[in-house]
């Protein structure tokens, strides 16, 4: 039984400079209502609701107490993952695959009620890492540093990735930041945590994204050309920095192998048309290329985003960083491209897309990676 995406909806996105802030669950309502209205569906037509909300950043314990009805789940089957929202989509997909349900809403909202770096100091064990003032950026910096050293990567190469992502953003009507950042802008920006410079680090914006997914027969009633979920995979690796490779994304590599084997993908560069990758830093984007086997180990810099290999048409995290809602934003962007509804940045031949999700509260290094493979 196939499961397909039939609609997407976005709230408006905000950064700290905008005062007209709504609550995160009001944004969930706006995004979901738009997704349902788009295909003339009512909340009563939906069987299950899955959100991705992380209590620490919502500033409320049990943060889905508020989103559950905002997404339409009043007296319905509803649940919450505390992960990147690709995993909420994956969970909803499993629920439909079980044969017990036909239609699901998947939603994720990001709030700006807290400073993310500050709050993330609590995600470490109180014994070893927390006393060292670790935060989610320091974990990323350790990986970036390790990657640079292992493969002698110059920072200009990382800056090029930022330039490429932001160039895409300048054409994407839905990207939050549309200003192109050049290599020299990046190199001139200050170090935040060496080797990460300010313009390498995505800034969190608030907003919400919703998807509606359905089993085959129902999907076709609401959308002539649903975008099918061909496969999903996710892996998590261990906590201690000393116990694993820091210059390679093993969990993502394992997820990619699983999907490639199942879907007979021999040459991902050729077999997949679009890639939406979670560029938490440009160094990570290079590591993602390598884990996805788009190139050899240490050669991530060789990958160039062009017409034959489209990467982050959305503009990447650097342009629209919705923290745990980022994964759904990327899936939604791929859906619009594949449905020929992307607008200004529409590309030809978008038959198959790979979306990479990364759980951002991921311990001392990026522990959990997920993949959603979409096809027409």
């Amino acid at each position: 039984m196939k499961v397909g995406i039939i609609s997407v909806g976005f709230s408006d996105f905000y950064d700290k400079s905008i005062n007209e802030r709504k609550t995160y669950y009001e944004n969930s309502f706006i995004a979901t209502k738009r997704a349902l209205d788009e295909i003339g569906m009512n909340r009563g037509d939906v069987d299950v609701f899955v959100e991705s909300s992380i209590d620490l950043f919502a500033g409320r314990l049990i943060s889905n107490m508020y989103t559950c009805t905002a997404v339409g789940g009043y007296l319905k089957d509803e649940t919450n993952t505390a992960e990147d929202s690709t995993l909420a989509l994956i969970y909803a997909y499993m629920k439909l695959k079980s044969g017990l349900f036909d239609v699901a809403v998947v939603n994720s909202s990001t709030s700006l009620d807290v400073d993310y770096v500050h709050a993330s100091t609590t995600i470490f064990d109180p014994f070893i890492y927390r006393p060292l003032s670790m935060n989610y950026l320091s974990g990323l910096a350790i990986q970036a540093s390790s990657y640079m050293k292992s493969f002698k990567i110059k920072e200009e190469l990382a800056a090029k990735i930022v330039e490429s992502n932001t160039e895409n953003a300048s054409k994407n009507p839905r990207a939050f930041k549309k200003k192109k950042i050049t290599v020299s802008d990046v190199i001139k920006s200050e170090y935040v945590i060496w080797p990460l410079r300010e313009l390498m680090i995505p800034e969190v914006v608030s907003g919400s994204v919703s998807l509606v997914i359905a089993t085959e027969n129902i999907a076709k009633r609401y959308n002539d050309a649903p975008i099918w979920i061909e496969d999903v995979a996710w892996f998590s690796d261990g906590y201690y920095l000393g116990s694993k490779r820091l210059d390679f994304l093993t969990a993502l590599f394992n997820a990619a192998n699983k999907v490639y084997n199942k879907c007979n993908i021999m040459n991902p560069k050729k077999d997949i048309d679009l890639f939406e990758l979670s560029d938490v830093t440009p160094y990570h984007q290079m590591m993602i290329y390598e884990a996805l086997k788009l190139t050899e180990l240490g050669k991530g810099y060789e990958i160039i985003n062009n017409d034959s290999l489209r990467i982050n048409l959305s503009g990447g995290n650097i342009s629209t960083y919705l923290f745990q809602a980022t994964g759904l934003f990327k899936v939604a962007e791929a859906f619009l491209q594949m449905s020929n509804k992307a607008g200004n940045n529409q590309v030809e031949k978008a038959e198959r897309a790979l979306i990479h999700g990364f759980t951002h509260v991921a311990g001392a290094s990026t522990q959990t990676h997920s993949i959603v493979l979409l096809s027409k």
């Binding site: 620490l56 107490m65 789940g73 009043y74 089957d77 919450n80 079980s98 064990d125 394992n254």
Partner: protein
């Protein structure tokens, strides 16, 4: 759709567990569950993990605990973190079920870990759940919400409901004496109950659950694997979850109608037409005494406003015709995010005939329940020996 079963359970000692870290407590539960069904961590395809982070003072402790989940070896594991408040444990069971029922995985481990004793005051943590702009200032926590239920039930249905709450308090603590994994094991009398102080009127100290540390691991399997590995697995016949409004005024307070709606759905799936007759044992989420009585009614074991009658007739005590919480329930042991999964584990042990000192004779069907949020979430599961 393929059937899904529970093939193994690992419970830990509960109470104040300052002898172990979060990670070690998770390891203890997992190791026990694996041993009980003669599996190795490498046989586990995927892991579903739950904690309500704030109680333990580690945000996203699944990262710290990941090495206990087997993520640190070999290929690592597909691991998914679920947080839904008091229902978290039940949500883990449901999530593990869907991992298998979807056909994606054959053997899935659900693990709930919580160290409630590591915060200074659980109600202070619970107070961070309620609306921070309107409700937080009133000091509302879980006990306050349950007190509203007791107060309204008292005024609406039964002015001496306190006498029945006393019954529930005593029965559960007595049952816990049979359970080596229970936290509070109290042999209490009516006098003890009535001399116990009011915390939030009309709830007394003995109406309330303790703050416990504890973990539980439950292994779910496809029918193919279950039949190969287990002689008498606990089959999942029905399951479901319901979410209601956060807002206090949107839900009736004296009757848990959201649970009543869910129970109808789940019993229909499980093909149970008369729950009172067909269910042999129930593990209900009784964080507060009044809730057990309200759960009888919502689940359809008693009429609305008449749940207390089951206590008059001794039906729900250990030797009654429908024992409720032979484990001692949440009233005896409450490691919050694990508690819902403990209900599932206990129900599975009853069905498998492995509940030892707390085993009820001749269990064919058992149910497990959990509630969470602002009296707004419920999960329910029916387990059966066939």
């Amino acid at each position: 759709m393929d059937k899904v079963a529970i093939i193994g359970v690992g419970l830990t000692k509960t109470g104040r567990r300052n002898d172990v870290s979060h990670q070690e407590l998770a390891f203890e539960a997992i190791k026990t569950a694996l041993k009980n069904c003669e599996l190795d961590i490498d046989d586990i395809d995927a892991v579903v993990y739950g904690t309500m982070d704030n109680f333990d003072g580690i945000s996203s402790p699944e990262r710290f605990d990941s090495i206990a989940l087997g993520c640190g070896r070999g290929r690592g594991k597909p691991m998914m973190k679920i947080t839904t408040g008091g229902t978290t444990g039940m949500s883990l069971a449901l999530t593990a079920y869907y991992h298998v029922a979807s056909g994606l995985y054959d053997t899935v481990l659900a693990i709930g870990v919580q160290k409630v004793s590591e915060n200074v005051e659980a109600q202070q943590v619970l107070n961070t759940a309620v609306d921070p702009i309107l409700d937080k200032t009133f000091g509302l926590g879980a006990i306050h919400a349950a007190a509203f239920q007791a107060s309204r039930y008292r005024s609406t249905y039964k002015s001496n409901i306190e006498d029945y709450m006393c019954n529930v308090a005593i029965i559960n603590r007595k049952n816990a004496l049979r359970n080596p994994f229970a936290h509070l094991k109290l042999n209490i009398t009516d006098d003890d109950y009535y001399s116990s102080p009011y915390l939030v009127w009309p709830l007394r100290l003995l109406d309330s659950c303790p703050s416990s540390d504890g973990a539980v691991a439950v292994i779910f399997a496809s029918s193919k694997v279950a039949k190969r590995l287990s002689e008498n697995p606990a089959w999942i016949k029905g399951l479901g979850y319901i979410s209601d409004s956060y807002w206090w005024g949107t839900k009736p307070i004296e009757f848990w109608d959201n649970l009543a709606i869910l129970a109808k759905r789940v019993f229909k799936m499980a093909k149970i037409s008369n729950p009172f007759k067909e269910i042999n044992v129930a593990e209900l989420y009784n964080a507060f005494t009044i809730q057990e009585i309200m759960e009888y009614e919502a689940i359809g074991l008693a009429k609305k406003g008449q749940g207390w009658k089951l206590l008059d007739e001794g039906i729900t005590c250990f030797h009654g015709s429908l024992p409720v919480c032979p484990s001692g329930g949440v009233l005896s042991t409450n490691p919050i995010a694990a508690s819902g999964l403990i209900r599932v584990a206990e129900a599975a042990l009853q069905v498998m005939g492995k509940a030892e000192g707390r085993q009820i004779d001749g269990v064919k069907n058992a149910i497990a329940h959990a509630w969470g949020g602002a009296l707004q979430f419920h999960g329910l599961m029916v387990l059966s020996n066939e």
